[in-house]
Structures are given as C-alpha cells and as structure tokens.
C-alpha cells in the first residue's frame, strides 16, 4: 500500500514537472546574440570557451577554487594508509594500461588545443589526463599518494595561481579578468594549459590520496 502511494506520488510529481516545463515561456534574456556579437574580441572562436574563460571567467575561476578546496578537505581528514591491494594486477592489464596511456595523453592535449575553436577545453582535458593516472594506479603501475610533496602542492594549486595571476596582471588594462584583445587568445591558452595540469592533478588526487595505498605494485 505504502509502496503504491509512493509510486503514485512520484508519477504525479513527474507529470507536474513535465507540464511545468512545457508551459515555460521563452527565456527572458537571450544571451546568444551578445555572445555572437562579441566573439571577435574574445580571442577564441568557440562560443563555449569564450563564455567560460573570457565573458564569465569569474565562474570558472571559482569552480577551480571549489575543486581545490574539496581536495584540501580530503587531505585535512588525513586517513591512515591501508595495506596494498590484495594481489598484483594481471600483466595483461598492465600491458594494456601502458599501451592506452600515451593515447589518452595525446587525446587530452588535443582536447586542450581544440578548446579554442571546437568542443573541448581544460576540464575535459584534465579529466582525461587524470583518467590515465587512475588507470596506471589501478593496474599497479603508479603508487598512491601520501602526504603531498612541495612539487605536488605546486602542481595542485598552479592552475588556480596562474589564472589568478593573469587576471590580476591584466587589471592594468581594465577590470579584473579582462584581457586585452590582442593577447586574449594567448592568455586563454596559457590559463587553460595551467588549468589542465592542475585539474588532472586534483582529479587524480581525489583518487590517489583516497586510495591510501602508498605502496603500489611496481
């Protein structure tokens, strides 16, 4: 009886939501036109990248900060290391991981480069690089991370620092996070490169700091 009433309530809510979406009027503000008009001054030709890193760079900056703080949270909990994996990984799996990783890295760098003119960008590229590290870790080729070293700390916070430094350095030309038109493309590529490396380290860090398996199976 209770089960059916829950199902009925869920169906009623879904129908109400669908009806509400169907009744939505056109969006109050249409931002497509202003974006299209200002594309020439953004330094890139892909509108999504232009919005993410130029017109609304503020959001992206804070997103990266949120990810970094999430990692700080994990590190602050400070868990004890666990014994390493029960058995060393299959040699076939290790072989496949070794074969796949260069391809993943090439795809990641391509996504970073492609972000300027077609779908792609720092987040996706960083996630791919992180996936390569996670793959190596799971096949026992890359030990987990314990307490981060200075170099790792630099890598983790580097992307955010570069983003912040560029936006502060450009304050002389206008407001915060505003790039001069001539250098916008170059600056965006610089920021995205830094972000890719940092995001890869952060996303892989979520995994490798949590794995608490600092031994690995070399």
């Amino acid at each position: 009886m209770k089960r059916w009433s829950v199902i009925l309530a869920a169906i009623a809510l879904s129908v109400a939501l669908i009806l509400a979406i169907l009744e939505l009027g056109p969006a109050g503000i249409d931002l497509r036109l202003p974006v299209a008009e200002n594309m020439a001054s953004s330094g890139v030709t892909h509108p999504v990248t232009a919005v993410l890193l130029n017109f609304r760079g503020y959001d992206t900056l804070l997103e990266v900060a949120v990810l970094l703080i999430a990692l700080f949270g994990i590190l602050a909990v400070g868990m004890e290391p666990l014994p390493s994996l029960v058995k060393p990984a299959d040699p076939m799996l290790q072989r496949l991981a070794r074969f796949a990783c260069p391809l993943v890295i090439v795809a990641g760098v391509y996504l970073l480069w492609a972000g300027a003119f077609r779908p792609g960008g720092a987040f996706q590229a960083g996630a791919l690089l992180a996936a390569a590290i996670v793959l190596l870790h799971l096949s026992g080729l890359w030990p987990g991370w314990g307490t981060p070293s200075w170099r790792q700390r630099l890598l983790l916070s580097g992307g955010f620092a570069v983003f912040l430094a560029v936006s502060v350095a450009m304050m002389g030309f206008g407001a915060l996070l505003e790039y001069p038109q001539a250098y916008a493309g170059l600056l965006i590529l610089l920021i995205e490169s830094g972000l890719t490396l940092s995001l890869a380290a952060i996303l892989a860090g979520l995994f490798l700091f949590l794995s608490r398996d600092t031994g690995g199976n070399p």
Binding site: V48, L82, P83, S84, L85, V86, L111, P119, G120, G121, F123, Q124, A127, L128, A130, A131, V134, L138, L203, L206, F207, L210, S211, R212
Partner: protein, 89 residues
C-alpha cells in the same frame, strides 16, 4: 527521416529511465555502480543529441569515467576494510 531520429530519441529516453531505475533498484552495489556508468554514457549521447557536445564530453570524462572509477574504488576499499585478514596472506 524525422521518424528515425524521433524513435532514436524515444529509445534513448527509455534507456535513460531504465538505467536510472536499475541504478536505484539494484540490490548489489557493484551492479548499481556499473548501471550508474551506463547511465552516464547514455546521458553523454543525450547531450550530444541536444547539440551540447561540450557538456557531453564533460559528462563522459567526469560523470561516467572518473566518478564511476571513484565509486568502484570506494567499494573496493570498503571490502578490503571488511576482510583485513586476506590482505596479509
């Protein structure tokens, strides 16, 4: 031609709902995680169909890939913790 794309979209929507239901209703956690990854991959196709390839890429890489791997790793860690005697063998 319209009917082909419409039927594909309906199939995709049905598969999304089915995989979401399987994720929630699976009794075994490992099955639920695999269904979650399947849901993420179907969602990637859905975003591409909605002509938002940027979100599709992010969903595939972060939503399906990294989150799925993290969940599987967490499950492995829980199991290792529950049977610590096996590790020393």
């Amino acid at each position: 031609m319209i009917s082909v794309s419409l039927s594909f979209d309906l199939l995709l929507a049905g598969a999304l709902l089915w995989s979401a239901w399987r994720t929630l209703a699976a009794r075994r956690i490992d099955l639920a995680i695999v269904m979650f990854i399947v849901f993420g991959l179907l969602m990637t196709i859905a975003w591409t169909r909605l002509r938002a390839p940027d979100i599709g890429l992010a969903e595939a890489a972060i939503g399906a890939g990294l989150t799925g791997a993290l969940l599987l790793d967490a499950l492995g860690a829980i199991r290792r913790k529950k049977s610590p005697s096996k590790d020393n063998a």
